[in-house]
Amino acid sequence: MTRQMSGAQIVVKALKDQGVDTVFGYPGGAVLPIYDEIFQQNDIRHVLVRHEQGATHAAEGYARSTGKPGVVLVTSGPGATNAVTGMTDALMDSIPMIVLTGQVPTFMIGNDAFQEADTVGITRPCTKHNWLVRDTNELAKTMHQAFHVATSGRPGPVLIDIPKDVQFANGTYVAPAKADKGHYNPRVKGDMDRITELAALMETAKKPVIYSGGGVINSGKAASMLLRELADATKFPVTSTLMGLGAYPANGDKWIGMLGMHGTYEANMTMHDCDLMICVGARFDDRITGRVDAFSPNSKKVHIDIDPSSINKVIHVDVPIIGDIGHVLEDLMKVWKSRGRKTESEAISKWWGKINEWRAKDCLAYTQEGKIIKPQYALQRLEALTKDHDRYITTEVGQHQMWAAQFLGFNDPNRWMTSGGLGTMGYGFPASIGVQMAHPESLVINIAGEASWLMNMQEMGTAIQYRLPVKQFILNNERLGMVRQWQELLHGERYSSSWSEALPDFVKLAEAFGAKGIQVSDPDDLDDAILEMINHDGPVLFDCLVEKHENCFPMIPSGKAHNEMLLGNASTEGAIESGGAVMV
């Protein structure tokens, strides 16, 4: 039995058959037929955002907190171009996302029609793959293929451009199980010889470290559990990238903190001095490596990654293992156990002695004194008062993001959503909306700076409309803090355009949208204010006035190695040479 229906019906049917319950979008001329179908059903909830960029970040928040792909529906032309930032963000951070864009009718493509843009051309470099569907009979197959591509291998955003006449025309619907998925099928099992090689290295390593990344979280909960099993069984220390926080719990006793530019002293020193580095689902990003020619000079490096192009891209590794983290770790544990669960336990406990010496530096130390709230203190209090909640954290981008990574503890995967690769200011607020849609009963907090938050503040309307009690925790220093910090360190304290002038009154702004606003400036009032925020049943704009010139430490200056960290203000004089200044 062939099932004939309109293109718009095919889109909605395919979404249902793929298990989609939420779509983030914004209507317009070229997607009206699909919006008409959405209006006539109740299985899929449509969340009307206030800007298409918001839809993409909300979908990212939804995807990262659930492990399911996020779905975006926008119109042609400006609808599609506004979604470009979110797609690029999702590509950099490997977030599965399906973006559906309307397009002018096929017979008008190329004529500079109203709201026409070459969407597949524009989005080719910022999607994992994209399609322009010219025939309604191809639509169902393409929809199912899109979900397959977005979620298999290294996840990423995909886009389907659907001309309006294709939405109106009738075509045949094909169910997911019967649809041709194409030849795309990345391997998930790792090479057993390589895995055995790794097991052998684990047996002889005296100074090992596990360097885990977002790939562990993308691989699913089972991968995080296997990572814990690996670390606990071997007693190897674990550090993680920004993207990987929560895969190994922050309260686990093998945890040595985040690594990289603003990572902990102990994590970076451990990376620098180790003799075996097991990179699990991370990609040797420049925020992690610092100076590549001085990166962990004396270690054997093993890299487990599902994407072959990540191997040897930045750092040459001795043992590459291409495969899904969950599958590889499962095989690794089997092999290592069958070989007798051996480690150099004596050497490893000596290694922990060294790590604990580094830890004793207390690299995240700061002093809270006087009547001004330090941003670190605000986050520490937030952590203390919310850590026992069923909590999800999103962030914007900048100093507050790094402090959040340093001072908040994540004990489970999928609880931490941040724009790591692209560094998109304006990510956190819409992402918190996406997370709250997926977890209506949970406490969802966006850690923000005032400048980042203003970039997508229009989404207050969305939060109010859908009664999403997202908490916007703004560390307001009236500065573009990270820009200001770099100008202080690199540009002779000439603070070019890095302050936030003409800021709104955030309490009044919240009230104008019908939300609650709280402002706090006295450290003594902080706890009560945070509790008031948590206990309020509705969105809260929390304006926390903090120290304006606080710098984010520790810091590996650009162009420096892991063992050349700056630990505080005193050590910054002349720290960055002119050679390092050109780096970002």
Binding site: G121, R124, N312, V582
Partner: protein, 188 residues
């Protein structure tokens, strides 16, 4: 022990100036890329090269399997061994790409290019052009009293040499297809 073998100071110019971990010699490789013959596939491949700063020396593309809707892209590229490995891995993860073969390392291969070369002249130069074309086994595919169009097939070097010979004899225009290449022997 220095497992990295990275040139000292390699990263100092920029965070993204990542020098080779193998060696710095520039190599030329010929890659055969089998792709779905779908709209935009060539743009994807070319966009990958330009977006990531890789070189294209020559590129040819045509459908080679009509029933399977497969096209073969032959691309000649240059780079350090690490860059060549990256190019292959990056090509391999494009969704419409089925296979990437590095003909330069996978065994002996045959490379051929076709060129159409227009030469105008009369008298001794015209005779000399005709004589040279015979030495190069070029065919005349068009002739007037004052001109020839030669068709020549061979390695890019042979075509370069022929073009140089024609230059003083009245070379007008050159059209080249770019390299097509295939492995020798019975393996597919």
């Amino acid at each position: 022990m220095n497992a990295l073998r990275i040139k000292k100071g390699a990263s100092r110019k920029s965070a993204y100036d990542l020098k080779s971990t193998y060696g710095d010699e520039i190599e030329t490789h010929t890659l055969a890329v089998l792709v779905d013959n779908e709209a935009g596939v060539l743009a994807r491949v070319i966009g990958l090269f330009s977006g990531r700063g890789y070189n294209i020396e020559s590129l040819t593309v045509a459908e080679t399997d009509h029933a399977g809707h497969l096209s073969r892209i032959t691309v000649v590229t240059t780079g350090t061994p690490q860059v060549i490995e990256q190019i292959k891995a990056q090509l391999g993860r494009l969704v419409p790409v089925h296979d990437v073969h590095d003909l330069t390392v996978e065994g002996p291969s045959v490379e051929r290019e076709l060129a159409l070369i227009k030469v105008a002249g009369v008298g001794e130069k015209r005779v000399e052009a005709m004589r040279t074309s015979e030495v190069f086994r070029a065919n005349v595919v068009d002739s007037t009293l004052e001109s020839f169009v030669f068709e020549i097939t061979g390695s890019p070097e042979k075509i370069d040499a022929f073009v140089e010979m024609m230059r003083p004899l009245g070379l007008v225009e050159v059209a080249r297809t770019g390299v097509a290449a295939i492995m020798r022997g019975n393996a597919g």
